[in-house]
Subunit: 346 residues, 2 copies
């Protein structure tokens, strides 16, 4: 292994296993926070990769608690100094470093208003960890590569753990405990598959699409490719793409579809057909044989992962694609393009 | 005038004036909806350009009512058939055609749960208009170009009218009534300025950035350029851009900054400097002389528009830029790139 990034990619199954083992009790306490307050909606503050974990929470916690999940507009709390009343809210801050000042400010305001607050962070001693009522430590260990990989998967894992310990479905925890092994198998498989992308060595960018619970995966894969390779990747909901932005999908433009089996599969098959009809070059991440075969390149997902956990495995071929695109461009994987690990925004 | 698009661009001041005159009474009734229910948060369902009007509402109604504004995840209502409990919510559906099935379904579910619902639509007789408790007609008149212009500005106008008739600040309505004249003056000015963009005749794409209340403007300008010209334009919050995606801003890449005076101006000046340091070619839409002068091209905004109304004028130079980029590429302005006017997504 020649870079921190590759080492950390390989550590992901073990990091997830550690999270599930060590933090299960804390996740149950967070479930108590839901039950002991009259929670009418969830408000999440986040930036960067953590915003993609927030998108996962929007679907999963929205379904678990049957409440809407809103994203905070940090500038209303900071630049505009007009924070909203938060009656009825449970507020979650997600930040692997725990240092993002605007995320901390949203959580601090919620505490001032007496609302229950939760931090998902890799650093419980950080400003975010010190501000929230309850902290779920991500247990990812040190992450030295600039591009977040194991902290991203473990932030999804933290959301999944909160779901599994609060839903009535006892099968959920069993399914989650099976996941680290499935991650390891998926990584092995995808590492073999990703060389197929070398035919995309001269692209300038691409569009990643998904719908439903893997909307987060689409954003995270686009961000990861972009951070590591500098290629112009973007992300759209398959539904929003058809409302105009598809105009820029020209013949030969790469479109990567994230489409695990589930309620969104049929809509994704429609989207792949629609961009294919415009002449796009398609890459498909899926466990559905027919959809895989419809793409120029198929990056298969192993079967047997329930849809609610699919974002934790579907991101893996995307991470490896990002690594591959960066290698094809000769970029230093641990210090890509002048980025720094922690970005402080007000 | 040689296209519907150009005619409709020019109609915008008059369309806004009509909205303000005719719909003020209905806007006041919608204010009563807020007061007669215990509204703890606002939930908005929308697609396409209407989602950018929703982003404006997120800031403006969030500030007016001091409640968070959440965006619905339509697929939870449709594909997943797991709609959330909406206790505490006031639900707004925004759709110029009123025909988007997923937007209609979110509003229908809210009514089934007994929550107050509002439709902002150009077609009160549409499924959306027939489903909501209260309808604010956009009064934009027929829009025949595929790219939404006057319906977009009037959907912002509808949000501003609801704000102006519900806030305690009586100055707000006076400021809004002054706006149609300011729109007309801005259009005249920007039509003269936009020829400066011809030096960008060979670009392949660009990045639009903003922060705070003009986040909506950034998204709308990127969408409009993309729809009309097929150029790969994208939009970022200036804060999110710095969390990684800036990696793809290479020397020579166009960055368009939307930066009217206000609390976000300093953060925007930082962003323009940061992308400039990476060698980006910058276009600045602002009323701030110093920031305008810092860009390769400045597209000035006229002074005297209060910040809360700035998204209705700041979008105009962007619309004209989109028109110009399309003309430079020889594209039919009314039927760009195989798009259709109404997109139906589940």
């Amino acid at each position: 292994v020649s870079s921190h990034l590759e080492a950390e990619l390989r550590e992901q199954p073990e990091a997830l296993r550690r999270l599930i083992e060590r933090q299960r009790g804390y996740a149950e306490q967070i479930g108590d926070l839901f039950r002991s307050h009259d929670v009418q909606y969830i408000l999440i503050a986040s930036r960067g990769s953590s915003s993609n974990a927030a998108r996962y929470a929007q679907y999963l916690l929205g379904r678990a608690h049957r409440v809407p999940v809103a994203f905070a507009t940090p500038s209303l709390f900071t630049l505009y100094e007009q924070p909203p009343r938060l009656d009825g809210a449970l507020v979650i801050g997600i930040s692997q470093s725990g240092k993002s000042p605007d995320v901390v400010e949203v959580v601090a305001e919620a505490r001032r208003q007496g609302r229950p607050t939760v931090a998902l962070t890799n650093s419980p001693a950080s400003p975010l960890g010190m501000t929230a009522d309850a902290v779920l430590k991500l247990e990812a260990g040190d992450e030295r590569a600039v591009a977040a990989t194991k902290t991203y998967v473990n932030s999804l894992g933290a959301v999944a753990l909160i779901f599994a310990t609060t839903t009535a479905d006892r099968q959920a925890l069993v399914e989650l405990e099976r996941l680290p092994g499935q991650l390891a198998a998926q990584l092995d498989r995808s590492w073999d598959d990703v060389g197929a992308l070398d035919v995309f060595g001269r692209i300038e960018g691409g569009t990643v699409v998904a719908r439903g619970i893997n909307y987060c995966t689409s954003f995270e894969i686009a961000l990861k490719i972009r951070e590591l390779s500098g290629l112009l990747f973007e992300s759209y909901s398959a539904a929003d793409l058809m409302h105009g932005p598809v105009a820029a999908i020209a013949p030969g433009w790469p479109v990567l579809a994230v489409a695990p089996s589930g309620p969104a599969l049929a809509a994704m098959a429609d989207a792949v057909a629609a961009v294919g009809a415009r002449g796009a070059r398609t890459i498909v991440i899926s466990d559905d044989e027919r959809l895989l075969a419809s793409g120029e390149i198929g990056l298969p997902l192993l079967e047997g992962v329930p849809e609610w956990l699919s974002p934790l495995v579907a991101v893996l071929p995307g991470q490896l694609a990002a690594l591959r695109f960066a290698q094809l461009r000769g970029i230093d994987l641990d210090r890509p393009l002048g980025l720094s690990k922690v970005t402080l925004t007000r």
